[in-house]
Symmetry: D2
Subunit: 137 residues, 4 copies
């Protein structure tokens, strides 16, 4: 499978804890940023959807930490997606830019609510038709 | 299995995002707080260990979000632990206090580094002998 | 002047940076928590006001850092308030609990918006009549 | 006076609270990022200094919030600096990129510690000679 989107970032010093490495929770922030940036390539954003009663919610996260990012490190997050019933499965691989080391792997299950009620996820096909079809081949 | 430790907290408004619910990353912060509070019952803390060259690191997190916390919600995190090779497995159940609703379930794998090198995890037996033995029976 | 409210907290390890002390931005979080807890003693909260079109916004913060909090430190935030035109001035003194050392002093100016428009701040008199009158004497 | 450094950023959705705007504490994070990026143009960074026993600490922050940033907003932070005794005074102006609106103004006082002891701030002259001289003219 080919990555469908890549987003580059840089560690901010305040994201590191007293061990000098990025605190484990902040990786979820990074992955959210990458997903929201990908969403913006579809000419919609998180806030625009929320105002129309649609909330994309994280239902599950499975993240493996292999190598710790430090203050100032540059990295890239690469995304894969697929549908699985009502869910959109988003896989995130995070690599350092300097030596392309795989630091973290994360699989997230996303569900879509409409006015607070769970939907069948058809919106994912609407939003991400191109990427979901390509990967289905 | 019985829970070995419980820690009560309250959602802070800044932890909520524009959807009005706690952002998914902040649950990892909550679980870290509960683990560190548990650690303090052993008369050691994260910082004390770090200064002695011992770093407890999160190697994997698997978290399921079932029900969203909102601003001001009071909740309790209940912990279970077990050894699995070099890893300490910590399971966290998060319940609202008002109606005892199970909001989030999280399993975390912890490893111990000494001066930056992976250890066999013997320190977990030293620190948590009482709880690991009780649960082994 | 007498403090009108006190709120105790404890530093969470993830709030500390690689210098081993609480990152400067997190103090603003602490002060927000103290203000929102004080607000709740009036049987309203930030979210309840927001849903009624009323947003209390921070217009200015002036904070002096005298002594750094470290991981696990317990502290208390003590509040003073007064009206100044359309603004509510909230002063926060933060002391460690162990040795009552004054760590941080912060003065915040709060304004009230109704449906996005600046108000004359009359709501502050409604909410905090007791404390504003007492201090006026 | 001319700005000595500019750093562009974009609001991340998790930095917004339930009011849909960036939480007031996060601006201090933004300003720290801008200062640390500026520092890196001098071929040193926060971590490198810390490992050599030098800690640059924020002693005071005075920040005025004029216009709120929202999710996805792009903005630029522009810096001015000057010496004032043992302190480095850093002024930050934050503008939206789309319409160049001045959102926030912040003045920060920075002190330098060496092995935990307050210094006379000579390191600021060493690090920022070019900018401090230019502005002194």
């Amino acid at each position: 499978m080919d990555y469908i989107y890549e987003h580059e970032m840089k560690v901010r010093d305040y994201e590191c804890d007293m061990q000098g490495v990025v605190n484990n929770a902040n990786y979820l922030h990074y992955f959210e940023v990458a997903r929201h940036e990908f969403l913006e390539t579809k000419q919609v954003n998180f806030h625009w959807l929320h105002e129309r009663g649609i909330d994309l919610m994280v239902a599950r996260v499975d993240i493996r930490y292999k190598y710790s990012l430090k203050g100032g490190d540059r990295f890239v997050i690469k995304l894969l997606i697929r549908r699985e019933g009502i869910r959109l499965i988003v896989h995130h691989d995070l690599y350092t830019l300097s030596d392309e080391r795989l630091c973290t792997q994360c699989t997230t299950e996303i569900i879509a609510l409409k006015h607070g009620r769970l939907t069948n996820g058809a919106i994912f096909d609407t939003l991400f038709a191109e990427e979901l079809n390509k990967n289905a081949l």
